[in-house]
């Protein structure tokens, strides 16, 4: 009679684990990441999710030269892509995007991730929705395809463009793997853990890894973020002043 007992115990444990780690999707097989998430700061960690700083990255000489050239250009003025209403791009977008929250909308064939800052959007395609290699266009967030490994969502991102304008600079040969799973925080919060590994033979001598954690915001909402509105309003004011004969 021990085997049925063990099986029942295992099933009960599995059910309990699912309850503890959040809801599952319609098929009851994978966790549902749908919702609004904000940066999870572990005890002792600076607000902002530990962005910036960090240990030096294992960059190749080529990468170091390109980054140094870029830094020399922008450091005197402090200019950034965000300063021109441009999203961070991968992997910066998935690592916090300025400390603003993100929203995930999960369907079996596609997962939408909206980062509030600059309304940056990533689409993670699964199964038949994955775009064939030859039909993909490169971009700052690349093309992301996903698959489930048990309760772990694995996202592979390719077709990136070269970017020296973020902490994790990379070439267009970079490939990024994110592995997402749910945990419970010390206050019983639902925590989404994203382990990121970036490989890039042009920019790095070894894989670059980091971990980002997000905390679920119960009944959370993203706010609108029209970054270019300020520029448009100022432009209209200039036109009005010009029409009124003012300088």
């Amino acid at each position: 009679m021990q085997r049925p007992f063990r099986a029942a115990t295992s099933m009960a444990a599995a059910a309990l684990a699912l309850l503890l780690l959040g809801s599952t999707d319609a098929r009851g097989q994978q966790p549902d990441f749908t919702g609004v998430w904000t940066t999870y700061n572990e005890s002792g960690q600076a607000p902002g999710g530990g962005r910036g700083g960090g240990p030096p990255l294992p960059m190749t000489d080529v990468a170091k030269q390109k980054v140094a050239k870029y830094q020399a250009l922008v450091q005197p003025t402090g200019d950034t892509p965000g300063g021109f209403c441009l999203g961070t791009g991968m992997p910066g977008s998935m690592l916090g995007s300025g400390g603003y929250p993100m929203e995930i909308v999960q369907r079996p064939e596609q997962i939408m991730i909206v980062y509030e800052a600059h309304n940056e959007v990533r689409r993670v395609y699964l199964g038949d929705r994955i775009v064939p290699e030859g039909d993909r266009l490169p971009g700052r967030n690349g093309h992301s395809s996903g698959r489930w490994e048990g309760n772990m969502l694995v996202v592979e991102t390719s077709h990136l463009v070269e970017q020296v304008d973020q902490r994790y600079a990379h070439s267009d040969k970079a490939k990024i793997v994110e592995r997402y799973h749910l945990e419970k925080g010390p206050k019983a919060q639902t925590v989404l853990v994203a382990e990121m590994t970036m490989t890039d033979p042009v920019f790095y001598t070894a894989p670059v890894t980091t971990v980002k954690k997000w905390e679920k915001v119960p009944n959370g909402h993203l706010l609108p973020y029209e970054c270019a509105e300020e520029t448009w309003i100022k432009h209209l004011e200039q036109l009005e002043n010009k029409a009124a004969g003012k300088k």
């Binding site: 940066t39 600076a46 607000p47 902002g48 999710g49 962005r51 910036g52 003025t77 402090g78 200019d79 950034t80 892509p81 965000g82 300063g83 021109f84 209403c85 441009l86 961070t88 910066g92 916090g96 995007s97 300025g98 400390g99 603003y100 509030e116 800052a117 600059h118 304008d165 973020q166 902490r167 706010l223 609108p224 973020y225 029209e226 970054c227 509105e229 300020e230 520029t231 309003i233």
Partner: protein, 136 residues
């Protein structure tokens, strides 16, 4: 009083930037200064709130233009629609311009009815730390 700490989150976009749309390199975020005046213009917008205050101080009477954190970050630090209206007398807490000129970067505000919202600046956090340690 709703007054929360979002300093690092609010000041970082794109890895190392202080704010979107332009550099905030001209502001001294190690200092915090209150400025009181009458609201002549206020737009709650991203990436920066826009504010013009009519100010009377030892330098005289004039309009001063300010900008501040994004509306979204201010919302999460207590700001709500119509809290600030033209004609209101308010106090803003700013990171002043490094060159000492008029203007600055609004990190927090106290509205006409005394409601305060915003983010603690690095300077305020440092002042609080020194006070807690009995050094100030």
């Amino acid at each position: 009083m709703r007054f929360i700490v979002l300093v690092a989150a609010a000041l970082v976009i794109g890895g190392a930037s202080l704010a979107a749309h332009h550099s905030a390199i001209q502001f001294d975020f190690t200092n915090s200064k209150p400025v009181t005046g009458v609201v002549k213009k206020f737009i709650a917008i991203n990436p920066h709130m826009q504010l013009v205050l009519h100010v009377k101080d030892e330098k005289g009477e004039r309009d001063i233009e300010f900008e501040g954190h994004s509306t979204n970050n201010m919302y999460r630090a207590g700001y709500r629609d119509n809290m600030i209206k033209v004609g209101d007398t308010i106090t803003v807490y700013i990171a002043p311009l490094k060159d000492g000129g008029d203007g600055g970067y609004v990190t927090a505000a106290q509205t006409a009815n005394g409601t305060r919202f915003g983010l603690r600046s690095r300077a305020e956090l440092e002042q609080e730390r020194l006070k807690a340690e009995g050094k100030k």
